[in-house]
Subunit: 348 residues, 2 copies
Amino acid sequence: MTRELTVSIDAMGGDAGPGIVVTALLRALERHTHTQYLLHGDEAVLMPLLAAQPRLAGRVIVRHAPERVTMHDKPSQIVRRGQNTSMWRAIACVKAGEADVVVSAGNTGVLMAMSLLQLRTIEGIARPAIASIWPTMRGRTVVLDVGANVSATAEQLVDFAIMGEAFAHAVLNLEKPIVGLLNVGSEEQKGNEPVRGAARILRDSRLPIAFHGFVEGNDITQGLVDVVVTDGFTGNIALKTAEGAAKLVGQYLGMALRRSLMGRIGAMFARGALNALRRNLDPRASAGGIFLGLNGIVVKAHGGTDDIGFAGALSMAIDMARADINARIAADRRKLEPAAEEEQAALT
Amino acid sequence: MTRELTVSIDAMGGDAGPGIVVTALLRALERHTHTQYLLHGDEAVLMPLLAAQPRLAGRVIVRHAPERVTMHDKPSQIVRRGQNTSMWRAIACVKAGEADVVVSAGNTGVLMAMSLLQLRTIEGIARPAIASIWPTMRGRTVVLDVGANVSATAEQLVDFAIMGEAFAHAVLNLEKPIVGLLNVGSEEQKGNEPVRGAARILRDSRLPIAFHGFVEGNDITQGLVDVVVTDGFTGNIALKTAEGAAKLVGQYLGMALRRSLMGRIGAMFARGALNALRRNLDPRASAGGIFLGLNGIVVKAHGGTDDIGFAGALSMAIDMARADINARIAADRRKLEPAAEEEQAALT
């Protein structure tokens, strides 16, 4: 019954090199049957890695790409002359219909620029967004945009709400995800023009979205809503600031425990609990960034990820491909345009 | 030698009522000699509280105010007809030169609106900002604006840099504070127009400010720079998101420790260390919000603060009043206007 899925992988993307990609494939094949993989990168490097893993035989095809995108490449420079890179070619397989989804741990800005150029946005969606999954007191919350754009209009924020809601529905398995708009206060008159305009549209439109209203920064980790919508400037800074704050608490905790004998004894006893805490906050669990709004599914693993993190990104990509999230986004987006909606109704 | 300072206090501001203000005064008088206090609020409430504390006799004067600002009041509505409130009158004493500084734990939006209306901004400064002190791996970092405005132009961000630098110099005792602009990346081409414009001005002007360049969200808590400049929308969300993330880690830690016997034993041994961690992250240590850019010093204690937090806000206010921070802000601001600077040079 399960449809065979093809995952296209930029194997040269992350800081750790293609070795972790191959190990991640072993993990992914344990969890996901009915999947095959197109591995883009330097044949001379990839072939020996695969030869050492006979369990991957018959599931993985290597596509040689002579070049690679580095972390220092600027999107504006590489995007037009990067057609020989493993990243470009990995995306091209999705564009050509050869693969259902593409995963890369490479340069985020270049991955977005190349994806946008090749895949284009879903009809009606002006800009793609990068979504991120946060651990919260109640489970997980999707936050977007965390960095595809440096600003957003009211209409673009509404698009992000549609995209985030579809993602939370399809991948986090929430029947009716609750959507909030990130703002400096929860009262109606608060905030800048884009967020107030987006709130008006979300309240008044015929979109089938459960809109909570405004949420504040501290509401994200409390899990007040399932989807938090913001512009890419604020969202990127909020994400990195939260990571920094969590890291600071961890560092303080370590320092406080090491400072005294009692602290060190306590840490010994509590080692299991402290390890559980570390797992809970492990950024590898978040699968990196999910690109939404494109005609094709693109998942960005953390640049510094290891095989566990890359396997998580593969799982996320496979879940998204199976969920057909883009159909929901396109359908919701059409509901924003009354004319288009009536046309649609007349056709069915 | 030490000049006598007068602190004007809105005694009716915080959630906890005026009781904590009186206890905070006892703490403040232990640390700060040569200070006296004007207490604005309901005489019938304040007089008995003071009568019970004979150590405050001769240091505190009560000024009756028949009304008070509540947390539900809207700035736009209360600001013109709130002249009988304890908050308005506390600010008016600074305006009249009767007091050097005003402290309130009341409604932030109303406190800013009333302060702006009565005190106006320093010459050359278009907008005031709210600064917040964050604990970091290296000490403390000033972040501003955390909510006075919902947007900022490049020029306003530069003003915030001047204000934050003067504050860090005067109150955090840093000879040459390092200033960074909060952005979505550290490379020069990153970000929106205001941050890129502000970076150009800070690099090219004759301002005597040590400008680091762009910093990212996670750099704040690592203490990469002493002053982090951002617009009030992003800054407010970053602040609350960081508080939420730190709280989440604390909640995870508590859950992890309680879940197993070993965890509970470990927590017993590590109690001292865990309490030290809690103190390090205590928001009461941050003194709330500091209003910068006004012709007068205004400190906002946390609305939910207790006597320890309010005493911290009093200490901060007294330190600021002694440091004459506004003279430095005005002098730096004049350096941005070449004509004004030459005029200034001709006069001296």
